[in-house]
Amino acid sequence: MQPITNTPTRYGWAMIFLHWLIGIIFIGQFALGVVMMRTTSQRTSFELIQLHKSFGFLLLGLIILRIAWRLGNATPALPPSVGTLERRTAPLAHFALYAFQIALPLSGWALVSVSTLEIPTMPFNLFVMPDLPLTESDSAEGFWISAHWYLAYAGIALVALHMAAALRHHFLLRDTVLTRMITPSSGRE
């Protein structure tokens, strides 16, 4: 039987797939966000912003699915070799990662909702996504642009820390913390 779901000792394919898909889109969104704000061509910038909005809503859908999956599934325990400090801080870091994954798309959605430009949102040109029920104004737009910007940089810093920790586990501690997020079989002990 294919190990789709998680068990107390390993991640299933669904969680592994969502982890990497969201991770790639999250980092890609950060890069796209930086590029779209620095592009001098107004047309290219406009189109990149629409693409960024599309992927943002895709990310929001995926993260809701991921949180539901995580809540409805076992979470594998850390290997016994993991120290006390990390055993206490790792769940906090993971909680923060989830918080950023929710806060980033939501703050982006708030940003386009309050923008006085009133540009419609059509994820991948498929359907019209309504705005959040917020009052539009230049000051609200400025606030949400700043919030989105700071959340993005803080979020990507946390992702970098997360990646560094995973690499430390793999190359220095030589445990299964990284590999069990690559394939379910490596989680079996």
């Binding site: 107004q42 406009f46 009133e118 419609p120």
Partner: protein, 191 residues
């Protein structure tokens, strides 16, 4: 013949021909300069999810020549300066002027040159012509309705739809419709 009968016949003839039509050609014939005061060139572009955004061009010039014998030989020339676009939102105006849309720096004029005028009613006509924007020229069609005529001025209400994609201005579709709805009031003054 009795002058009284002649007078009645003339009166009956006037009734038979709608008043505007009777005055339009003979009285309206001549050349007019489009006057910025009393004229406006507005446009609306529909948005996905409803609504639309409105804009106007503040600067334009042109001439209207109405042929005394044949309406079909009448001419309309209109030059719009896209730099003067205004939507009430400065960031959108800057976007429209940029190379994303009008590229006003390199294409300072949008031109319409009529090729044919066909009368469709007592006070209405269809004006076809060639519209040039961003170096691309396509035939376009506008409906003109005579809105007023005094001794020295003539006023038309002009409407028409233009597909912006043909002029390299398709940015933002399908968020914003490809169809630009024009609504113009053109007041001409005799030169």
């Amino acid at each position: 013949m009795n002058t009284r009968i002649l007078g009645l016949a003339a009166f009956a003839a006037c009734l038979a021909v709608p008043a505007m039509a009777a005055v339009a050609l003979s009285d309206a014939a001549g050349s007019y300069m489009i006057s910025p005061s009393g004229s406006s060139i507005r446009f609306t572009i529909g948005k996905a999810g409803g609504g639309g955004f409105d804009g106007a061009f503040g600067r334009f010039k042109g001439t209207i020549r109405i042929d005394s014998g044949d309406v079909g030989r009448s001419k309309v020339d209109l030059t719009i300066y896209p730099e003067s676009v205004g939507t009430g939102q400065g960031r959108i105006d800057a976007f429209l002027r940029s190379d994303a849309v009008f590229d006003a720096a390199n294409n300072p004029e949008i031109q319409f040159r009529s090729t044919n005028v066909t009368r469709t009613g007592d006070t209405t006509a269809v004006v076809t012509g060639r519209l040039t924007a961003r170096g691309k020229t396509f035939p376009e069609k506008f409906t003109a309705e005579l809105g007023g005529l005094t001794g020295r001025t003539i006023k038309f209400h002009v409407t028409g739809k233009v597909l912006r994609s043909r002029y390299g201005m398709d940015v933002g579709t399908p968020l914003y419709s490809n169809v630009v709805d024009f609504d113009m009031t053109l007041t001409g003054r005799r030169g």
